[in-house]
């Protein structure tokens, strides 16, 4: 009975000391100070799409395999050569960023970028027509002081952000 009281007291003290250790040790933080720090996503991240129109053979496999029905093929007229071909268009309201279309394309015409911000002020801008898909997505920096950081795994602190 007395042993139980003493062992309980010891466990209470150990819990409080663990809390104090984390309170007074130098800063470990896992939050990202957005928008001052922007995370630079790694290279093989599945982000928004970009079309390489020289390689596209208009087979239509990408729109057949898309699980959400976001891709569709439309006729596109080139300005210089007046040639008309079929190229895919993306509707980002439906896209789930799974990457099946990129994987199944037999001529590697679609590729993934590292950009994931699909946020616009006007709803119609979410639908990327062929010419916007050829140029690809672009980002505006949210505020003037934003810098890019890269996240690294650390044994002691978990996750550390390093300036690029």
């Amino acid at each position: 009975m007395v042993a139980k009281i003493i062992s309980n007291f010891y466990y209470h003290i150990r819990a409080i000391l663990t809390g104090l250790k984390y309170l007074f040790s130098p800063g470990i933080r896992i939050t990202l100070k957005y928008p001052d720090e922007l995370l630079l996503l790694p290279e093989n991240y599945r982000g928004m799409l970009k079309l390489n129109n020289d390689l596209c053979i208009s087979c239509g496999l990408c729109s057949q395999v898309c699980p959400a029905g976001a891709l569709s093929l439309k006729l596109f007229e080139y300005e210089q050569t007046k040639q008309v071909k079929r190229h895919p268009e993306v509707d980002y309201k439906r896209c789930i960023f799974c990457g099946f279309c990129v994987d199944i394309c037999p001529s590697k015409a679609l590729e993934l970028t590292r950009i994931h911000d699909a946020a616009f002020y006007v709803r119609d801008e979410l639908y990327y027509e062929v010419d916007r898909l050829i140029t690809g997505p672009k980002i505006d920096l949210p505020c003037k002081k934003s810098k890019y950081v890269v996240s690294e795994i650390d044994e002691v602190k978990g996750l550390v952000y390093r300036n690029v």
Binding site: N8, Y11, H12, R14, A15, T18, G19, I30, P42, N44, Y45, R46, L55, L61, Q64, V65, C66, P67, A68, I96, F97, C98, G99, F100, V102, D103, I104, C105, P106, S107, K108, L112, S151, I153, D154, E155, V156, G158, L159
Partner: protein, 397 residues
């Protein structure tokens, strides 16, 4: 059908409580209980608020389009849902993935098991009021999600496994980063979690002796997962019917004898330790070879052939857009993080399945609410809820 409680004898001194979906402790579901003083005399769950009709939607999608659909039933545990479906589909197509693909699948499944158990700890912590033990497991998931992002390209919605193999291979420098993340998780689990939460006398007072599930009741009610193993039943689908690479790896089944809430938490802690051991073995013993079945290697287009010979990765073969497996009926079982997951698929040789049925572990554990909480105190309800690790979207599909 409206869920109501049967009429009670002394309705004058009992309060009927609706712990509805707009409650901090209820998750996305509703409970109806009758309170007499400090004890619940009757308690029933009222599920169905997150029902999205996954099984019906699957009847209108092609076979390869069901892979992201089935994952989102329980997005925390995406790899295990994925592997259950893909193993069933491979049984229909009568192929088997090559050894390197099996090891890669097991790697992702075990990483997902650790993150799912850490999420369960977070919910258990906030249910009994410890906000530090809510933030710490969620923060400690971040290195592991980073690791999974290196393999698959996405943080939570992997869609990594396809019939015949996997989609991508390991990048350069993966092994060192994975070992660092595992060391971090191990140190945090064995030192800080025990000192702050699991050895805390307040936690032990809340969890020990509460919500006891005896061995015969557990078998009779059909409970699965760590809840079953905490009641002295040593059953794990990875040992009974090994799939993927589990037959070649060494690990123990975690089990406890008491059957109370503390035992369930300790079983999950032990499972995390075993998963770390499995991942270390995988990283050491990974065989070289192709990552997709030979039958699909012959279907690569000319433009991708040269990259395939250099790196071994080529994505999806074009046949998947119009895949027609032969007619038949298959069942597959895997061990998801919360228990045993069953897929039952009926195919008529068409582009779309005739019927897809998934029996999720949370759905089978839902009966524990009625059995364990009736007769318990009002303040035991969050403790029991946190310890059985119930995830409403997985149960409602």
């Amino acid at each position: 059908m409206k869920m109501v409680l049967p009429k009670s004898q002394n309705s004058e001194k009992e309060i009927e409580l609706f712990i509805g979906p707009q409650h901090p402790a209820s998750g996305h579901m509703r409970f109806i209980g009758r309170v007499d003083g400090d004890i619940f005399t009757k308690f029933i769950p009222d599920p169905g608020w997150v029902h999205r009709g996954i099984e019906k939607i699957a009847e209108n999608r092609k076979w390869i389009q069901i892979i992201p659909l089935v994952e989102r039933a329980a997005i925390l545990d995406a790899a295990n849902m994925n592997i259950g479906y893909v193993i069933a589909l491979e049984k229909l197509l009568d192929i088997e993935a090559p050894p390197r693909a099996q090891y890669l699948r097991t790697l992702l499944c075990e990483i997902n098991r650790i993150t799912s158990h850490l999420y369960g700890f977070g919910i258990a912590g906030i249910m009994i009021g410890s906000s530090t033990f809510y933030m710490w497991p969620f923060a400690d998931r971040e290195p592991l999600i980073d690791i999974a992002q290196l393999i698959t390209g996405s943080r939570l919605t992997y869609s990594y496994m396809i019939p015949g193999g996997v989609r991508r291979d390991l990048p350069q420098g993966f092994k060192e980063k994975a070992l660092k993340a595992l060391k971090y998780i191990e140190r945090r689990l064995n030192n800080d979690y025990f000192r702050l939460f699991f050895d805390n006398p307040v936690t032990k007072a809340r969890y020990k002796g509460v919500g006891v599930l005896k061995k015969d009741d557990a078998i009779k009610l059909g409970i699965v997962g760590p809840n079953l193993r905490a009641s002295n039943v040593k059953y794990d689908v990875r040992k009974v019917e090994p799939y993927a690479a589990y037959s070649e790896l060494e690990f123990d089944i975690a089990y406890r004898e008491e059957g109370d809430c503390y035992a369930r938490l300790m079983v999950r802690v032990e499972e995390i330790r075993q998963s770390i051991k499995i991942i270390r073995q995988i990283l050491n013993k990974m065989p070289q070879g192709p990552i997709i079945h030979k039958k699909y290697e012959r279907l690569i287009s000319l433009k991708k052939l040269e990259e395939y010979q250099k790196t071994g990765v080529f994505g999806l073969p074009a046949i998947f857009a119009t895949l027609r497996p032969p007619a038949g009926e298959v069942i597959s079982r895997v061990e998801a993080a919360r228990g045993e997951l069953i897929f039952h698929i009926i195919s008529t040789g068409d582009l779309r399945p005739y019927r897809l049925r998934m029996v999720t572990p949370s759905f089978r554990n839902m009966v524990l609410f009625r059995e364990l909480i009736s007769g318990a105190r009002v303040m035991d309800f969050p403790a029991i809820y946190g310890s059985i690790d119930y995830f409403p979207p997985e149960s409602d599909r």
